[in-house]
Assembly symmetry: C2
Homo-oligomer: 388 residues x 2
């Protein structure tokens, strides 16, 4: 693999958001040449990529032409034109993770079926083709309120999901092929990243626990290690490692799980890429998820996932009520606290709940880190200003 | 200081070597715009800087014009055209560290005089204008062999230094204004980085111990924490903090010290910038020296200098006998060892003993890290190849 760790290797990243940017920050340490495909010339990754090529992840021609220019193609988003990836693969372009894995994951219906077929614990579900079919199934008593609707394709960051708690919520139903899941009484949401390289080596990160902002349906606070029982930890790791192995992953798989009110561990969904729940690893773990992604897709030996310090991560989100050129306040005050590490993604425009950055807080104890994280959330505000 | 931590701030870095590159890696986390001035379009920092401007650090016009384009000017090298910096400062350009500090440090004669005038322990010395004057002083018995000659200006990385152990070494004497220092019986070489911001806040890093390659006069292995007595540690810290305070530093000061055979602590020399002996901080300390430099020059609160793990750093140097397009071997094997973090600077051409990268090795104990570091040094080799 020596040949890859030099500036002669061009790694191509589809989409140039914060995940792409942080991947390039790591790639730069190994002197790799990085190309990024994104329609927005001001996207976060373009600022430090060797080369930014304008084009959409959903455009056949753009993805195909981009793939032809790089030595290794990877992505930071699930939504990639599958036809283009398949054509590139058939022509011998190296793509990691494999398009087949991406195709499975792009469709939440196929994903759920894959779990049940392989005895991986997940919430019971039904598949329907349309809103009409769902209403029909309700009438026939095949499903009952409460339930969760997830569009099979295209959803992310809480979009494409409808939570139907009461009959009156039915007006929120989305139209399109959907997974209808029993509404699990969720005790905890946890997450787990597993890396695997072509040689079959795997490396599993410590479990993280997520607290959601119920209003925005976005992760609010994340902490590591998670407070779960040994048995729950083992069950989560075993499920995640089984999925990774069944998929023959080359790269990272982020596995989101629930612990329900009976203490059971259920797989919610997976993402074949670096993940918001792994940002804390940049400072808290021996090998960051971004370095690990590079190791995995290049078939290099995987790095240690040992935790150096307990960590809490908070997303820095656009405040409600502001949309326009971004303005940050409270950064200095937050930076004055020991162990606070701030990442700003460089998005020029803020919108309510847009992920503009994150802060990782390291401390000797998780309790101390959590207290500091609360303070950081109170301090840092993302609003808007007009340039003079 | 809020206004500075956005992409609206342009930070200008004079010279684009590895120190500039690693500074930009950190600046990118805070979404700063970075300009770099360097004559070489392939310099390490150019790969990820927002903008690379071709020009020499020693050229008045290049430095002056560059300074006019940025909001804050800093440098990663001592050798900067002083006239240009002074003119920029007189015109209100913000420069950190201050040109006056740089001017003092650029001249090793002034630097030594500053130490003795301020009761800072340093090896006894004499100043001479030329090789002829030195030989004359020897004849007159004012100085005696053994001694060390350091050219007052222009030397770095072991250049501009002649070690005269025996009379026959006198043929190695350099011509030019020089510091002649008694040859100290060195027990240990240690180093210490202190940061200070305009508000007067200081932060001191843990002491590091350096082992030199006697052939190349370059740091070979560095480890942190250093094995010194409590008293020696205190004396070193006090000396370093006193210098930083006397200089009203805005930025980092790297202080190199000797411990002599009697156990005494002596200041050797200082550099007003990020330093090779601080590279390990990227992974081993809460706040890396590069983030700390940004905090210090922007007058932000300084970050914690708490050590997360004991660390050893080894430079990755060009092998003797090779000069040409760079080729790395042994990287995969080194990456397979837990806790090995590799940084390649992206220099296209290797030369004997050229600093091409470094590896930091983290472990639970320093002893374990040192053993791994030895193995890393055996594994990674930098030679040359021709492109096919």
């Amino acid at each position: 693999m020596e040949e890859f760790v030099t500036s002669d290797l061009i790694i191509g990243i589809i989409s140039g958001g914060q995940l792409g940017k942080m991947l390039i920050q790591e790639a730069s340490k190994w002197d790799m040449t990085t190309y990024v495909l994104d329609p927005d010339k001001d996207c976060p990754a373009a600022q430090i990529a060797t080369r930014h090529i304008e084009g959409s992840n959903l455009d056949f021609d753009a993805v195909y032409r981009f793939g032809k220019e790089v030595d290794l193609l990877t992505f930071e988003i699930e939504n990639v034109h599958m036809g283009a990836l398949k054509k590139l693969k058939s022509e011998g372009v190296r793509i990691a993770p494999d398009p087949d894995v991406l195709e499975l994951i792009q469709d939440k219906g196929k994903q759920k079926t894959f779990y049940t077929r392989n005895d991986i614990p997940t919430a019971p579900f039904h598949l329907y083709e349309s809103k009409e079919q769902i209403l029909h199934a309700l009438d026939a008593g095949h499903i009952t309120v409460p339930f969760v609707q997830k569009l099979r394709t295209g959803g992310y960051d809480g979009r494409g999901v409808a939570v139907i708690t009461h009959t009156k919520d039915l007006e929120k139903l989305l139209d399109g092929p959907s997974v209808i899941e029993e509404k699990v009484a969720i005790e905890k949401e946890i997450s787990l990243i597993v890396a695997r390289n072509k040689a079959g080596e795997t490396a599993t990160y410590p479990l993280v626990e997520m607290e959601f902002d119920p209003q925005e349906n976005l992760v609010d606070t994340l902490f590591c290690p998670a407070s779960v029982t040994e048995q729950q930890g083992t069950k989560a790791r075993e499920a995640a490692e089984k999925i990774v192995s069944l998929l023959n992953m080359e790269g990272l798989l982020a596995v989101e799980l629930f612990i329900d009110s009976t203490g059971d561990v259920l797989v919610n969904e997976v993402a074949p890429r670096t993940h918001n729940s792994g940002h804390h690893t940049i400072e808290s773990v021996m090998t960051s998820q971004f370095e690990q992604h590079l190791r995995a897709v290049l078939n290099l030996p995987l790095g240690s996932t040992e935790l150096k310090r307990p960590a809490v991560m908070v997303n820095i989100l656009g405040e409600p009520g502001f949309e326009g050129p971004v303005r940050y306040t409270g950064l200095s005050e937050a930076l004055a606290m020991a162990g606070v590490k701030i990442h700003l993604y460089g998005k020029k425009i803020t919108r309510p709940a847009r992920k503009m950055g994150h802060a990782t807080i390291l401390a000797t104890t998780l309790d101390e880190a959590r207290k500091k994280a609360k303070r950081v959330q109170q301090l840092i505000k993302v609003t808007s200003w007009k340039k003079k």
